[in-house]
Assembly symmetry: C2
Homo-oligomer: 600 residues x 2
């Protein structure tokens, strides 16, 4: 089959229209101005812009890393600004926002599908509008109308950018330990002092301003996460009429030099360093969002979408790597078939070798399975916002909460594994910078770390999401999964046998979950939470592969046969991996708990 | 425990002396001049030189990649030459060679242990002497006395370097398809024309000369591997008195730009390009090694050692990454214990978190297990050469042949996984080039590719080594493994329960191997050979962990407790992974065979 070298539009269409019935969303008031035609136009436009403006600079922006010039400003290759101007000019930064803010009110699932082209083409460049969107999204949800007008609207228009400034050098996974201080002033504003680390897009000259959303502590606030508030800290102060004024006291201390994702500046920022002294008072000017002490609550409110989008980036990198490996394997010749003993016969293409096919099928099952997971979750975001029945909306939100750590972690692990296999298919060539797959592998290695590491996601899943509401979310997932296996059993054939395998594994998951929490001891229950995350991730993706198989039905053609091959692979090679993981969890193994780290 | 930041000398001592009884080798004639004192001196010297001269340039040589200067010569940072001068000055290049060649006649296992320090410190720099040693080794085994004197002796002295020039742009895994031509001249020499790709150390100015060992075809030779001959092609021609003469027609076409391993030049070379025309006749001057048509046989004769050494490099990179992660996890604080609800309590070190302990234990089990595998195989090399009983020597060689694809592949997979975990333990810091672990990960990614990919190793294991002699090698392995489980059963306690688990798994391996070959159909038997390689690798390492536990015995102390913890981890978390793999193999799954690649 012909494939796009960036993403498979055919697969996106299948998942959106033949499986998720995204078109049905247009019957809801929020999306009533849309139809399949406007959805398709967004996908067409995204593919075209990503192909024309983003893909060509992926390797060059990796090689020419951003640096700080003599004037203290960040220098990026000029083609980055050109690509972002094309993106802004298209109106896509406004995709998900309300009409009244100049937005397009696109369903999140369609936006996510379109964004995949940009993430696949040049994820380090697309990170700038990606971060800005998340920033504006949070302000729209929790800011005052004036804050939205002043700080979010220019971001939606694509004129400004934005960041999430959470981490500090000593506090990444443990945000309760941040020490940046925010002191209230007589005029209601705050002055912030402190140091923020790992701030992606924390400085650059791509727009007129950068809106930092900063977590900080007010004097006398409670220790831990309950004493944290959220502040708007613009790089340049903003006048009442929305125009950009003098520089705020947000100083770029340095850029982090990363293994990949290099087009994205990643910064160490000092607030209140004395770079400027706005109004004569020391500290960076900040404006409280919502109420004091609720900063993390606001942040977590947007966390589902942010984490699903990180997973989407991991999928996009894995997916484009797979397409590159496939293109290569179809034309590169090497060796002979095992049964062919004639050394004078011409060599065969790589796809003739079973082990290469295994590596391609594995990649396909990871990246198409991952894409299904991401779009399913993105669709749940839309459901949670627009389902006509409020109970449906609440169920969607609850299921989304359970699936979020998986949507973030599973692609970060397995689509990175796909990138590893894409290198392997290329052999020595894949290890060189003349081919793009090694960059995908380096870029994707970020995803298991940022927005909460695997270990953090595992604790979120098994320590919170699985237990809250007495297991309500897991029951919702079980209901959906069982509905799928019932339908698959009815369909008979391979689908029925996959359904039986999945039903047995789900029984195991439920039993193991019960055993883990039987004693109510978090230390014991969570000792091997990472394995639980991995196992449940494979089960969820197996379920979604069965969903895809049902959507395929009896249709003929190479595309559908490819889906059949991938689901066969996943149930034969992948789902069984969960067996030993679940058995270990059920044994309440205490190897890690018993370990005295001094003996390492 | 205090740890070296490069390698653990304590672990090397344990494996060499408390487990393998390397000292006993000194009772054999070849090693009679050695004792524990000289072995220790080699390890001391290696650690010191690696620490003082190699480790300091690892990051700088990664950042400042070799390039071709205006004069066409390769430019490397000057500190590379200084480090190699220190290595050469120490006499270590002569470690394994015969006294009559100026060698030290060290056991290979001791040499391998010492080399681990250099591989861990700066593998891309150590590659130059590493490649030279392999080159000289092959010449010593198959060259004429004059060839050895003229081309190998200067390499043993450390004055010259050497390469293995096998691959071509169109032929990597499939060497039968090489097309470089070698035409015999009246004086008995040959003239070679062709293009060689991926030649590590293929050009540089580090020594007075570079001896290329080149595979090529003579006119009228048989197609495939039987028509390939081996030639000495020096960069500079060599006079009868051994002095270096005019330039041979070996032209550097370009350097490959790699993801890692950057200090090592990797080259595209043209032979007979017309760079020079030695004696007026076109083509690069070459000298036949041995007989025409036996080039690959000679090459494969040295393959066991070369592949074990590649595995050793993978282990060293994984090992040093583990030590760095451990050092970091012991001092970096983050978060609180799960049961601690007081946000005002001080944060704990990373090793207090079970998931971090899991990641450290996993690394420990991979790198110490991998080191045991490598040293066991290196010891078999010594056994195969010096065992007093010729039957013992033959058995050692046969067992080594079986274990070689595992010794090459298992560390390439799992010590790379260790590097991945070392990054994860570091969090965001691990993704930056300010910490060394991301480089280890990039460097180590080469190892699953060169010296035969995973897929090639898998076919070698299941298609050749397992079946030859009617399964004689697998029986040898089984005898050794069963002897270990018998001893462990006798020891009782945990050792006995691990033994029972390993015995059951070995029964599975034998049964599955029989099923795979029951129909004698290579296509069916080898369809999933990579899974067989992975599963048998885990079984072998589990066996060697049990061997280590027996060597630990009842001894007390942190070091021994660490071994106990790692073996416990390996049997609980790792060995069970083989269950689904062996089950899939036993099912004779044809997913990859049935696949029509057009549907991908």
């Amino acid at each position: 089959m012909a494939t796009s070298r960036i993403m498979s539009r055919r697969d996106l269409d299948f998942l959106l229209y033949e499986w998720l019935d995204a078109e049905a969303l247009t019957r809801r008031p929020r999306y009533a101005e849309h139809d399949r035609g406007t959805f398709d136009a967004v996908l067409d436009l995204s593919e075209q812009l990503a192909t024309d403006f983003f893909a060509p600079l992926n390797q060059s922006t990796d090689a020419a890393e951003p640096y700080v010039g003599d004037d203290g400003r960040v220098v990026l290759p000029p083609e980055v600004a050109r690509a972002l101007a094309a993106y802004t000019g298209s109106g896509l930064p406004a995709s998900v926002f309300d009409h009244e803010l100049g937005g397009l009110q696109l369903p999140f699932v369609v936006h996510q599908a379109g964004s995949a082209f940009f993430q696949a083409a040049a994820i380090g460049v697309f990170a700038y509008p990606f971060l800005a969107e998340g920033n504006a999204n949070l302000l729209v949800a929790h800011g005052t109308p004036d804050q939205v007008r002043r700080y979010a609207a220019p971001v939606v228009e694509g004129r400004w950018y934005g960041t999430m400034a959470l981490s500090e050098p000593q506090a990444g996974s443990s945000l309760g330990d941040i020490t940046t201080r925010a002191v209230r002033q007589d005029d209601g504003s705050y002055r912030l002092t402190g140091t923020k680390m790992w701030i992606s897009g924390g400085d650059h000259e791509l727009g007129e301003n950068i809106v930092h959303l900063v977590l900080a502590r007010t004097p006398g606030a409670a220790p831990g996460v309950k004493g944290i508030s959220l502040f708007i800290v613009p790089k340049h102060l903003v006048h009442d009429d929305g125009s950009v004024g003098e520089r705020n006291d947000v100083a770029l201390v340095g850029l982090n030099h990363k293994m990949g994702y290099r087009a994205t500046t990643n910064t160490l920022l000092n607030l209140g360093e004395g770079l400027t002294t706005p109004g004569g008072t020391p500290g960076a000017v900040g404006h409280l969002v919502g109420e004091e002490g609720r900063g993390l609550t606001y942040m977590f409110h947007m966390m589902n979408e942010a984490r699903v989008s990180v997973g989407a980036g991991a999928v996009a990198l894995g997916y484009t790597g797979y397409l590159h490996a496939l293109d290569y394997a179809r034309v590169r010749t090497q060796g002979r078939a095992l049964q062919d003993k004639d050394p004078a016969a011409p060599p065969v293409v790589l796809t003739a070798h079973p082990d290469v096919r295994r590596m391609l099928l594995a990649q396909k099952s990871y990246v198409e399975g991952g894409l299904a997971l991401i779009l399913f979750c993105a669709h749940l975001v839309d459901e949670s916002r627009t389902a006509p029945d409020p109970d449906d909306a609440r169920r969607a939100e609850r299921l989304l909460g359970l699936l979020t750590p998986i949507a973030k972690s599973w692609p970060s692990q397995w689509c990175l594994a796909a990138n590893d296999l894409a290198i392997q298919v290329h052999g020595g060539y894949g290890y060189t910078r003349d081919y793009p797959v090694e960059q995908f592998y380096r870029d994707n290695r970020l995803n298991p770390i940022h927005e909460g590491t695997h270990g953090i996601q595992a604790l979120d899943l098994l320590g919170r999401k699985v237990v809250e509401g007495d297991g309500a979310a897991l029951r919702l997932l079980g209901d959906r999964l069982r509905a799928t296996t019932r339908a698959a059993t009815g369909a008979g054939g391979d689908a029925a046998s996959y359904a039986a395998q999945l039903d047995r594994t789900w029984d195991d998951v439920l039993r193991v979950t019960g055993v883990l929490w039987a004693k109510g001891d978090p230390a014991l229950a969570l000792a091997n939470a990472s394995l639980y995350l991995e196992a449940l991730g494979h089960v969820v993706v197996a379920w979604l592969w069965l969903e895809q198989l049902l959507a395929v039905g009896g249709r003929s053609g190479g595309f559908y046969d490819g889906k059949r091959a991938a689901v066969r692979y996943f149930y034969a090679f992948e789902l069984p991996r969960t067996g030993p993981q679940l058995a270990l969890l059920e044994s309440l193994d205490t190897t890690t708990l018993d370990l005295d780290p001094d003996v390492l």
